[in-house]
């Protein structure tokens, strides 16, 4: 069930459209601060398990990030934040670029999606 939902989310993100009904259609922008929510992010260029560690480590360096997982098969990162944390799309894209990958679309949501690839 969750895997098919996640696949839909990934397809939607990669196409730049919103298909998942539980996902809020918040426009990506530099002032898109969060308040205790979750972000789903397409990351391009990650193809092997060993590449995941560096990416997740970069995400965890963003102040306010409490958790980060990555689904290798869909190129989909799932970030969770402290309540009230202020994190922008720019922070997330910068972390991805520092990890030497290419950021794709970002979608913010309040619900919880099952974790993907763990960091260890």
């Amino acid at each position: 069930m969750f895997s098919s939902v996640r696949r839909l989310v990934a397809v939607a993100l990669s196409c730049g459209t919103v298909l998942h009904p539980g996902m809020s259609a918040i426009a990506a922008g530099p002032d898109n601060a969060t308040g205790g929510r979750e972000a789903l992010v397409i990351v391009k260029g990650v193809a092997t398990p060993f590449s995941v560690f560096g990416l997740l480590s970069r995400f965890r360096q963003i102040p306010g990030v409490t958790g980060a997982t990555f689904d290798l098969s869909q190129g989909l990162a799932d970030l969770t934040f402290k309540p009230g944390a202020v994190v922008s799309d720019h922070d997330i894209r910068e972390a991805i670029r520092n990890a030497s990958y290419t950021p794709g679309p970002i979608r913010w949501q309040n619900g919880t999606v099952q974790a993907g690839h763990p960091a260890n």
């Binding site: 398990p49 060993f50 098969s73």
Partner: protein, 282 residues
């Protein structure tokens, strides 16, 4: 015979252009055993440190921490076993990604690298053995190479072409070396990459070609040195986000040597890697 059975680089047997995040530190230990005909045996404990200095720049330090060379020699009509044990040389490389094309679950990269070999090791621990059986060369060297990587969810391909230019140390100069490497890794398990898998098992097939010019002593050619060696390296690689373990055989396909009867028989490379992270980077 070729100068040194230098076993491995930053990937399994050579450096590719694989991504490394800024601040990511990959520590590798690569014990390698090489058997040559005529009772020559070499065991090399190589340590490799790969550091993501920025999103494009990687610093790669390769050091032969312990080299254990054994050779049979005739003494008073008897065969005796001679050993040369000590530290080897250290190579510092700088790799910069100049081309990157990323897709979901795939990346293609080209990254030239330059490197300097420091003669940090012991190049004269046993005077009864020839220079090419000492743990280190005693030579400075510079190297230039171009690497590329094409990675997808189910297979990876890597290639390198490079040249090492060596400079005389203590009157003895190892020959310059041309290298060409290629690798193909294929996911054996899982059959389908899904969320939650603990890691992936790769079948790996790599190949290395070395061509060494002849060594020189006081500017004069040293007979029995230099030549070409072509290896093919089948192996298995278990890779997780945090660590990896690989075992690779190094098998000679073809070799020529300039007058020395010693030949590469086989090698075995154990590759252990651990991924760490530091917030410090450029």
């Amino acid at each position: 015979m070729l100068a040194a059975p230098s076993p491995a680089r930053a990937q399994l047997t050579f450096p590719g252009a694989s991504p490394i995040s800024a601040g990511n530190v990959i520590v590798m230990a690569q014990p390698t055993m090489v058997e040559q005909t005529g009772g020559f045996q070499s065991t090399i404990g190589q340590g490799v440190l790969v550091y993501g200095a920025s999103s494009n720049l990687a610093l790669i330090t390769e050091s032969n921490l312990l080299v254990w060379n054994l050779a049979d020699a005739m003494s008073n009509g008897r065969t005796v076993r001679l050993a040369a044990v000590g530290t080897g040389d250290t190579l510092q490389e700088f790799r910069y990604t100049v081309f990157q094309r990323d897709g979901i679950g795939s990346t293609f990269r080209i990254a030239p690298l330059i490197g300097v070999t420091f003669p940090t090791g012991m190049d004269n621990v046993n005077a009864q053995l020839p220079h090419d059986l000492q743990p280190a060369t005693g030579n400075w060297a510079v190297r230039g190479a171009v690497t590329s990587s094409w990675q997808t969810l189910y297979w990876n391909a890597e290639a390198e072409i490079g040249y090492d230019n060596r400079f005389p140390g203590t009157d003895y100069e190892f020959g310059n070396q041309f290298v060409a490497d290629a690798a193909f890794h294929y996911v054996l398990w899982p059959r389908q990459v899904k969320p939650g898998i603990p890691g992936e098992l790769f079948a790996s097939l790599e190949t290395n070609f070395y061509s060494d010019t002849i060594n020189r002593l006081h500017g004069q050619s040293v007979p029995g040195t230099g030549g070409q060696l072509w290896l093919i390296d089948p192996g298995l690689d278990w890779s997780t986000p945090r660590y990896g373990v690989a075992l690779t055989a190094l098998l000679p396909v073809a070799q020529t040597s300039y007058g020395n009867g010693r030949r590469y028989a086989f090698g075995l490379l154990l590759h252990l890697r651990l991924s760490l992270y530091t917030p410090y980077h450029w």
